[in-house]
């Protein structure tokens, strides 16, 4: 038996690279698709959360007596309803979470650690009763001094969030607690020797503010516990198997008793890889006996769900006059929020990853502060550190009078480069993206006076992981594709295309379904740019499994050995002249005969996908700056990225465009504004301003394809990399326009105006 999937890797593909309408599309343009908050059950209660108004306080008492006696209130839960859990780190996307912290983040125990930290939750008949009940809960707080800024939190006299936190990763271990959870270090070579060889050295300090993922759909779920201790949960999540695990742990149940269904998901970008409401809704449902629906308001999303961390980053890079970088060094301080676990380690690993360096050293600090716990946001940790490094690289290019693309090319990581974080790269596409950028018409187009152009590159790892997929063959030869990774941006289409390619059948005969946690084996979440890669590999494996069964059936029908059957273009054929002369058997015929040839045919795969291909991108941007208002206008934007192989190019372009525009928001506008008491002053889309349609131009894309050798069709992850280069590319462009180097994000109109005023002052003095 042979199958066609391998030979296709070397030659032309029929489906990979085409752009069919996504299979779930019609439901999404008609309003039929059901997202997190679109589920209604009979006798469903409304659940609401009481949140701390203080950034830091000891929880002295919680009295729920009056709330519980309010007519219509069916259940109230507090810290007393959840068992404490020991410290234990488990993976969630690219990040790690600790159950001791999760149980405290979903419901405060000893202290509240940020404004918005849950202290109680109620379930009542109707919205009105639920809101009234919250007002009747009496909480005794002992307000404590708080700390918001990462450097202030590191100061020796800073208020401590966790009195028992001893910095990990330092030898010998400190004797006194601090807000520094962990110190990490990566690198190789001798940076001081490298700097000694440099002709020019630039050292800068950068600051970035926390930014929110800004998914348009707030967190929402419906939980329904039955009297026999089994429960169902519908929720908007990037990983329902992760939700099942976390909730079962927090509620002390067996995972088999909890069935979690992922609704359609209205954006996540990493922010929907953890649990907030889900354990509370389950606990309220267990106590009340009714289904309970909980939905965050936008304000709650901002106050209590995870941002990407704010950072303070110092970077030093040395270069010779010929453009060779001799050494790079960085120190990264990341805000973890209320609990440890910022993505600083990932930030360290990515900082210099685009470069082939002999001498590199990166040190990172994971620092807690009185803010919501940081959560993954698209390439977590990397946009901040690569912003800093890519800004310094640009400055060095200018200092030695070299084209910034040429400087990057001279030092670019390629196959065989030892990455700063350890491994040696296989085939990677950074050089190709840089060459494409340099050759692009955009890069050579004339700029008007006062305009600036910037370029920057970005790197992200991408991941694989545990993944299942089934292909259920119907009696008419059509196929139900069952996957376990929630479809956050068109992955159903990408999976169907890979199955169609592997099976040699029309993509329209394959209909996808995202199964609940009881209907498919454990599958890790949609994150780490892994879905088209890892679920794709599972689907290809399931296709091979199905082809094997189909060939066996054909062999049986023809009464020849199975090795004498081959699978070509969606049908079984005798393999060569010696196999005998038989009319080929298409998939539909074999499906119809399945009952007589051995029973149902199901292709299955359960894999731990390895070998995710690293991803590189290079962005080019032109800006103009309004000298009166300080507004930076994006005039033109081009994203160039290595996709390995674009399965559905529309959705690859979409990832590149969407990531770039999120980066534009990060660069130019988005930031949290806290008052002196640690209370968020802009918890809404009016004042936390994400880019709108009129803020941006068309985003041009160039897909580069340097195949990932591990994947049968060469697929790499594409989702995360595009958010990495924009901040530096725009800062570099603004420098080109104004001659002012911005090291503080966002480059919002007030900051730009201030910098312009400061730059004018010496002129005025002349």
């Amino acid at each position: 038996m042979t199958d066609g999937s391998q030979e296709k890797a070397n030659g032309a593909t029929r489906w990979i690279g085409t752009r069919p309408v996504r299979p779930d599309g019609v439901d999404k343009v008609t309003g039929r698709a059901r997202f997190g908050a679109d589920v209604h059950l009979p006798n469903m209660l409304v659940g609401k959360v009481l949140r701390s108004p203080h950034a830091h306080a000891r929880l002295k008492s919680i009295d729920t007596t009056r709330a519980r006696s309010l007519p219509g209130v069916k259940a109230v839960v507090t810290r007393d309803d959840f068992e404490d859990l020991p410290s234990e780190f488990v993976p969630a996307g690219e990040m790690l979470v600790n159950y001791r912290d999760i149980v405290r983040n979903v419901m405060a125990r000893e202290k509240v650690l940020y404004e918005g930290h849950p202290v109680a939750a109620v379930a009542a008949v109707g919205e009105r009763a639920a809101k009234e009940a919250l007002d009747l809960i009496e909480v005794g707080y002992e307000v404590l001094p708080h700390v918001m800024d990462v450097e202030e939190a590191m100061a020796p006299d800073a208020p401590l969030l966790h009195e028992d936190m001893i910095t990990a990763g330092v030898e010998p271990a400190p004797e006194t607690p601090s807000n520094v959870a962990k110190v990490v270090e990566f690198g190789h070579g001798d940076v001081e020797a490298g700097f000694a060889e440099a002709d020019v050295m630039v050292e800068r300090e950068f600051r970035t503010r926390p930014v929110h993922q800004g998914y348009i759909e707030p967190h929402s779920c419906v939980a329904s516990f039955s009297e026999d201790g089994q429960a169902e949960l519908w929720c908007t999540t990037q990983g329902h198997f992760i939700v099942r695990g976390h909730c079962a742990k927090l509620l002390g149940m067996e995972v088999s008793r909890l069935r979690v269904t992922a609704s359609e998901i209205g954006g996540g970008f990493g922010g929907k890889t953890v649990v907030y409401l889900e354990p509370l809704a389950l606990m309220l449902s267990r106590k009340s006996g009714n289904p309970v629906k909980m939905t965050m308001s936008r304000e709650e999303v901002f106050r209590a769900s995870g941002p990407a961390p704010g950072t303070c980053i110092r970077v030093r890079v040395g270069v010779r006059r010929d453009g060779r970088i001799t050494a790079g060094e960085a120190e990264l301080k990341y805000q973890a929020g209320a609990f440890q676990g910022s993505p600083v380690q990932l930030g360290c690993m990515c900082a210099f990853a685009p470069y082939d360096l002999e001498n590199v050293k990166v040190t990172g600090y994971d620092v807690v502060a009185n803010r919501p716990k940081a959560t993954a946001y698209r390439a977590p940790g990397a946009p901040q550190s690569e912003f800093a490094v890519e800004s310094v690289i640009d400055e060095l290019a200018k200092a030695i009078g070299m084209d910034p693309v040429a400087l990057r090319l001279k030092n670019a990581a390629k196959e065989g480069t030892r990455a700063a974080y350890g491994p040696t790269f296989g085939p990677v596409g950074l050089v190709e993206t840089l060459e494409a950028a340099g050759a692009h018409e955009h890069y050579r187009a004339r700029l008007a006076p006062g305009q600036g152009r910037g370029v920057a590159s970005g790197f992200w790892f991408n991941i694989g992981g545990e993944t299942c997929a089934n292909l259920n063959l119907g009696e008419d030869g059509t196929i139900a594709l069952v996957a376990g990774t929630p479809d956050i941006g068109g992955s159903r289409a990408a999976l169907c295309l890979q199955a169609a390619e592997a099976l040699g059948v029309d993509v329209e005969t394959i209909r996808p379904l995202i199964a609940d946690t009881s209907s498919l084996g454990y599958t890790f979440l949609t994150g780490g740019s892994r879905t088209a890669f890892a679920s794709g590999m599972a689907v290809i494996e399931a296709s091979k499994d199905m082809i094997g069964q189909l060939c066996e059936r054909a062999a049986k029908i023809w009464d020849i050995p199975v090795d004498a059957v081959e699978w070509v273009e969606g049908e079984a054929r005798p393999a060569g002249a010696n196999a005998g002369e038989f009319e080929s058997l298409p998939l539909a015929d074999l499906a119809g005969l399945a009952g007589k040839t051995g029973g149902p045919i199901v292709g299955r795969a359960q894999i731990n996908a390895q070998g995710a291909g690293p991803s590189f991108g290079t962005h080019v941007v032109d800006v103009d700056v309004d000298r009166e208002t300080g507004r930076v206008e994006i005039l033109r934007y081009t994203v160039i990225q290595d996709a390995g192989k674009a399965v559905h190019p529309d959705y690859v372009e979409g990832q590149m465009q969407g990531g770039a525009v999120q980066g534009i928001g990060w660069a130019l506008n988005e930031e949290y504004v806290y008052d002196e008491n640690g209370r968020l002053e802009n918890p809404g889309f009016l004042d936390y301003r994400i880019p709108v349609c009129s803020d941006v131009p068309m985003i041009d894309t160039v897909i580069v394809e340097v195949p990932n050798p591990t994947h049968p069709y060469g697929v790499r992850g594409v989702g995360e990399t595009p958010i990495i280069p924009p901040m530096a590319a725009i800062a570099n462009a603004v420098e080109g326009a104004l001659g002012i180097r911005f090291t503080d994000l966002p480059m919002s109109p007030p900051r730009v105006l201030k910098a312009l005023d400061e730059a004018r002052l010496p002129e005025a003095a002349d």
Partner: protein, 161 residues
């Protein structure tokens, strides 16, 4: 407890009666009472446009209007955009251009875009961008949305020419 209000209205061309609390928004009524969940709540403050509906020909955020204010008025939602099994050209073009990723903002964009094309069948890119500036999309970067709207407008002009 305050008595519920009785409201008579027209939704997607059909006469509809409902009871609602006076503080319920039109969006609450559509989603929670009538189970027309195609209109989404992204912010409840009129900033994201995910709940865009058309009331008596005017584009509004359903979260900024009370349910009782729908009395005697005509409301059009995403659920009324397709005719039978025929999608509106905007819906078709959104699919063809892959103008959605997660899809949660899509109903609002479609309702808002239709309202634009009803007024201005031949908008420029800039006009499209400013008309849709009240609708937030975090996935697409807007590029494919704008292309889909311009393409739908061209096709609709061709059909009526």
């Amino acid at each position: 407890m305050m008595a519920k209000a009785h409201v008579t209205t027209t939704i997607n061309g059909d006469p509809v009666e409902f009871l609602c609390d006076v503080e319920q928004t039109l969006l609450d009524v559509l989603r929670d009472e009538l189970h027309l969940t195609g209109s989404k709540e992204g912010c409840a403050s009129g900033d994201c446009g995910a709940c865009s509906v058309v009331v008596d020909g005017r584009l509004v955020c359903a979260c900024l209007m009370l349910g009782v204010e729908a009395q005697g008025h005509s409301v059009e939602t995403i659920e009324g955009m397709a005719t039978g099994d025929r999608l509106h050209p905007l819906q078709t073009k959104f699919l063809e251009h892959a103008a959605l990723q997660c899809g949660v903002c899509t109903p609002g964009f479609l309702v808002a875009a239709k309202s634009l094309l009803d007024r201005n069948p031949d908008p420029t890119e800039t006009e499209v961008r400013y008309w849709l500036a009240g609708n937030l999309c975090r996935c697409t970067g807007y590029d494919k949305i704008v292309r889909a709207v311009l393409d739908a407008a061209a096709e609709m002009r061709g059909a009526t020419a």
